[in-house]
Amino acid sequence: AQSVSQHNHHVILSEAASLELGCNYSYGGTVNLFWYVQYPGQHLQLLLKYFSGDPLVKGIKGFEAEFIKSKFSFNLRKPSVQWSDTAEYFCAVSKSGSARQLTFGSGTQLTVLP
């Protein structure tokens, strides 16, 4: 079975700092990779996704993630965070297939100080 590890449970940054959230997965087959974000009081929404092609994926709000297959990693990055990026971030992986059951990491709470 696949699993996802997010090593940072809570990250606190000042505005304009750079962000990198780690995500590692374990699964030997072809995978789809996702980052979801949940802003306070809102529903879970997609930040970016990787299915195939260019391993550097750009998402909404200036976020990007790089799929490094040899390291089983899909780290999320943003060069300069804003106070509005305060949220919980979830990495998820699914096996390629007809019904894509997502396996989520435990999440990283990001707090950006103004």
């Binding site: 996702f34 979801y36 997609l46 019904a99 894509r100 997502l102 435990s106």
Partner: protein
């Protein structure tokens, strides 16, 4: 555009009582449907998924069951709730092909 609705938003139930959470999707047909649970301090765990009416796959053994009586309706049920059933329940949908899952607003279930 497609929308997903879950209700109720919050629910407080005594131990041993039954449960029914409903999820409906609008604006699409033949979606894949999913139920997840997020326990306090943990990530989301897939409970059930369905690729069509009457087709339910369970990912983890538990006190819960799911049903899909209509194409865009997915119901999570229990005959007798346990304390350990407390958590945040999310419904999601997607379509075949390279499409991400879209989530509802969730139901926060507290068992007393």
């Amino acid at each position: 555009s497609q929308t997903i609705h879950q209700w109720p938003a919050t629910l407080v139930q005594p131990v041993g009582s039954p449960l029914s959470l409903e999820c409906t999707v609008e604006g699409t047909s033949n979606p894949n449907l999913y139920w997840y649970r997020q326990a306090a301090g943990r990530g989301l765990q897939l409970l059930f998924y369905s690729v069509g009416i009457g087709q339910i796959s369970s990912e983890v053994p538990q006190n819960l069951s799911a049903s899909r009586p209509q194409d865009r309706q997915f119901i999570l049920s229990s005959k007798k709730l346990l304390l350990s059933d407390s958590g945040f329940y999310l419904c999601a949908w997607d379509r075949e092909g390279n499409q991400p899952q879209h989530f509802g607003d969730g139901t926060r279930l507290s068992i007393l």
